[in-house]
Amino acid sequence: MLTTRVIACFDVKGGRVTKARRFQDNVDVGDAAEVARLLYADGIDEVVFYDITASPQRRRADLDTVRAVAENIFVPLTVGGGVRNLEDMHAVLAAGAEKISIDSMAVRNPALVTAGSREFGRQCMVLSMQVKRGERTATIPSGYEVAIDGARVLTGMDALDWGRRGEELGAGEIVVNSIDQDGTHAGYDLEITAAVADAVGVPVIASGGAGTPEHVARAFTAGASAAIVSSMLYSPRLEQNYTVHDIKQALHDGFGLPVRPTAEAASPR
């Protein structure tokens, strides 16, 4: 049986993991390759990192960091940040990433999703969308609007429409990242996660707001195929951090969800 997927996500700046709250006030967590290696040893199912200064500085994601992370973890690696064209995608994949996450650039240039999908396959293209809760209006019927550029700019696009469109464009997975919940540790926005999961046929990844294993479980019961966790794993700001093992044990024992046992990650090579 296909198991629930727990994905660790971190923001990287100059090769180091930083943690932001609602896209602001970053604190340093540690060396990216070292953080990834520890999570791998702990049984994480997948790793995503965003080079948060790549886009603002109009450059590619830091390939040395991609390589340093990829050399040490043998689970899928997704990289986001600074992807503007097929050449950038080539470079990131050649450095050892499996998937490319595109967010603001997909809104600016939707053809990029299609081009990447044709060249590398749908499974390579992860459409990440930042969604902001608001009023249901004629143009935003779901009540959730897509934002770009670190949640600073609203696009006037409906999140549900954009999710459907992303699948049509060629995305193989869709990340629903709630701006309102991000960094709150109060749980994912289940309403929009469930709505997108119902609307598309590709896997949907819940993101933003997980603070406890129960939040993670609720994402799966809402229809997500995978859930992104970050603060709850390592944020020094949080009173309680959880290991990957803690999370999976709770998913399995508390909620009856299928997991890849962390014992399999710890077995000798």
Partner: protein, 212 residues
Amino acid sequence: MIGVINYRTGNAQSVLFALHHLELDARLVATPEEADGGDVDRFLLPGVGAADVTMASLAERGWVDHLDVRVRQQGAPFLGVCVGLQVLFEHSAEANTPCLGWLPGMVVRFPRGRLRVPHMGWNAVTRRSTHPFVRGLGPAHFYFVNSYYAIPAEDADVAGVTEYGVEFASVVARGNLMATQFHVEKSGPAGLALLSRFARLDPAELVDEMVG
């Protein structure tokens, strides 16, 4: 020395990282000439992307003929991964692509509708044969990303199975030909163990297996 075939859209680098992590001798080979140096004695075909692009890329670089000699005629151990499994069969429904045809059978798409496609994530593999490649393979989870799956015509070629709406062949093995639908290089310690097993298999044992 394992030659990791490096073609346009494969993820050869990830495979090389995994082999080097295991301290195995491996290098990337982009063309048959690069594999002809004498040290490459087994091949790994990584796979990402579509069957038609993969087949075109292999043909363009002269791999189809080279591998036919080295693998099929001379018996060099071969491991195909993901699309590298699918192209071993006769035909893929993906872009209606004629494939290598080293194994009888075809490749079809998961049914539309109830299932999310691609099949993406960690799924269980159950051993189905006594081929040396899967000897000792316990129940474990491996990382899959596939919209298509192979239906081998010969049951004996099915070395492992996985369930996703249907039960499909996730490992195939016949003599010196081995392949996994999942990404061995991205399947944690369980995947690394299989890679290590492939690297250490005795070709003589594989030939015996083929005869037996």
